[in-house]
């Protein structure tokens, strides 16, 4: 149960962050999207043994978190959701790569420990990057960005409508769930036997809703196409930001700051 409310909260929390007026929020959404992609790809491109290079990449999310005025806990708690799988997948490295590569003082550092750290760092950094994007960009802006990047409108409409009705259906599901548990006080959650009927009812309701939405669309002349407001394209300023930030990321990847320091 609490998971329903939690996910509604999660959505609203990010939405609210995205609707504020910070330096990061002011950046053009398409700029942020492109840079996030460059960042994620660059982080992923680090070899498993290259941890120290990766450390520098932690600066980006931290910096953005500050200028985006995004509370640290929000992002961290989100990261936790994404980590377990990477953690278990990486765990094997700890046990399978036992040869010590170098000594840090008295402690021997094994290959596995390094690759494990690198994997976890990558997991945190990539998740952070995406969350920072979403926490500073409203769904609305994201939709326009996808349109301006020539993502097919059918897919964009799907993303838009799924997002729009997600919270509506979640509320409905939450009500049905409560109604069920109130009449089955001994149960912790829905019995497997009742699940078919429960979800089936939800489907029928959803289908009815879709029909009503379709009627409302028809009444306003819908004939398959959907247009969106035209927003300004990636201007010179936007391109400069992309190029500057992009090359900064790539330079940091290519040049080893350790040697310079």
């Amino acid at each position: 149960m609490s998971s329903i409310n939690k996910s509604i909260q999660q959505i609203t929390a990010l939405e609210e962050l995205a609707h504020r007026d910070t330096l990061l929020n002011k950046l053009a959404p398409s700029v942020k999207l492109i840079i996030t992609f460059i960042y994620v790809i660059t982080v992923i491109s680090f070899r498993p043994l290259d941890v120290s290079g990766l450390v520098f990449f932690a600066s980006f999310p931290v910096f953005l978190m500050i200028i985006g005025e995004i509370p640290f806990q929000v992002l961290l708690s989100r990261c936790m959701i994404a980590l377990p799988f990477a953690f278990f997948a990486g765990l094997s490295n700890l046990f399978l790569e036992k040869n010590t590569i170098f000594y840090f003082g008295k402690f021997g550092i094994t290959e596995g420990e390094i690759t494990f750290t690198s994997l976890m760092l990558k997991a945190v950094l990539t998740v952070m990057a995406v969350l920072l994007l979403v926490a500073s960009t409203s769904m609305n802006d994201l939709i326009y960005t996808l349109i301006s990047l020539h993502i097919p409108s059918i897919l964009v409409i799907q993303i838009m409508m799924t997002y729009r009705y997600m919270s509506v259906l979640l509320k409905e599901a939450s009500l049905m769930y409560h109604a069920y548990l109130l009449r089955a006080p001994k149960e912790k959650s829905i019995k497997l036997n009742d699940m078919g009927t429960f979800l089936g009812q939800m489907i029928l309701r959803s289908i009815d809703r879709a029909e009503r939405i379709y009627h409302a669309m028809q009444c306003r002349g819908f004939n398959g196409g959907m247009e969106f407001s035209k927003r300004e394209k990636l201007g010179i300023k936007g391109w400069i930001t992309v190029v500057v930030a992009g090359s900064l990321i790539i330079i940091l990847r290519v040049v080893n700051i350790n040697k310079i320091l």
């Binding site: 680090f46 043994l49 989100r78 399978l96 699940m195």
Partner: protein
């Protein structure tokens, strides 16, 4: 089941992205061509939202006391038909990657393939529809759903194993990963299958036409479905083969590209800069080789310690500069207020 960015390599991520983009493009064309019924558009959107809501409903797994939730691929395919279902699942996965940190940007292609493509274009047509070919009864629907979900999930988890091993991020050998993943997903699949079956037979009992419509529509497209599969199989093998060759002969694509750039400048520049470029190249990756002899250890230790220190210094510098920027911004804001 969702793969995260940290588990895929650049080569695997982009290959799967290319395959999934192709499948999405093809499905969109197919929907535009054949599904002239505009009512599908809001239907897909709402059903996408339904998958989210349904995943939040926990149920009790008998005998274990633990709880689970459903995935929804076969469910969507049975309600909407494979192409709209695939597009709907794609948008669900995109939203999950963006808003719920489930999956990632680079891993999106993998996830769309593992959870969308394999269920909508393999498990649905070859299992679900085959079983319901002769006759449709609630029991047959349940059976078809269970088998399709189980096989879809097995394929999906197999694909996760292949992608993870190909990416080379974990040291776990292919076989052990397989032995670990498949049984877990068999258990998940059986439970999810039972529920999907129960849901679909409920829908069939109360609104027969919904199940029948998508089944009938599916049959008309049977021939083209095979063609799609062949095309995608060839594309996947070609792209995958090419990229993995590319990836194996060069540690990774980006590195290779960087090497190309630095070597390109080498021709133009003098031998002195050549040396510098090479030095730069060597520094690109700390710990460039897997084994170190005793002599190298010192220098490696040196770079690693300086690496950690360097990282911390950079972090401090960024935090300070960020705070300074914020301070300036706030002061500006205050000035506006006081001016008024």
């Amino acid at each position: 089941m969702h793969m995260s960015d940290s588990l895929v390599s650049f080569a695997v991520g982009t290959t799967m992205a290319a395959v999934s983009t192709g499948a999405v493009g093809y499905s969109i064309r197919k929907i535009k061509k054949t599904d002239l019924d505009n009512s599908k558009i809001p239907m897909m959107g709402v059903m996408g939202a339904f998958v989210f809501a349904a995943q939040m409903i926990n149920f009790t797994i008998p005998g274990t006391g633990s709880s689970g939730h459903i995935g929804g691929g076969i469910l969507l395919a049975a309600l909407l038909g494979p192409y709209p279902a695939f597009i709907t699942l794609t948008s669900v996965l995109i939203i999950q990657a963006l808003f719920f940190a489930d999956g990632g940007l680079l891993a999106l292609g993998c996830n769309i393939f593992n959870m969308g493509f394999l269920t909508c274009f393999i498990a649905y047509p070859f299992i679900y529809r085959q079983i319901l070919k002769k006759s449709v009864t609630p029991k047959r629907i349940a059976l078809a759903a269970i088998l399709a979900v189980v096989i879809g999930l097995q394929l999906g988890s197999f694909s996760v194993v292949v992608e993870t091993t190909a990416s080379g991020v974990t040291e776990l050998p292919f076989r052990s990963l397989l032995i670990w993943m498949q049984p877990i997903h068999l258990a998940i699949g059986i439970i999810e299958g039972v529920i999907t079956g129960a849901v679909l037979s409920f829908v069939y009992k109360s609104r027969k036409e919904i199940i029948m419509n998508s089944l009938e529509k599916g049959t008309q497209k049977k021939i083209s479905m095979k063609r799609v599969l062949v095309i995608f199989a060839i594309a996947a093998i070609f792209i995958g083969g090419f990229l993995s060759y590319f990836a194996s002969s060069n540690p990774d694509g980006l590195e290779w590209a960087i090497q190309g750039i630095t070597q390109g400048s080498e021709i133009v520049n003098s031998s002195k800069t050549h040396l510098k470029a090479q030095e730069l190249q060597e520094n690109t990756a700390i710990l460039p080789h897997y084994s170190f002899d005793g002599e190298a250890q010192d220098s490696v230790l040196g770079t690693s310690v300086s690496g950690v220190i360097g990282g911390i210094v950079t972090l401090v510098v960024t935090i300070v500069s960020g705070l300074v920027i914020m301070k300036i911004k706030k002061n500006k804001g205050n000035r506006v207020v006081t001016d008024k």
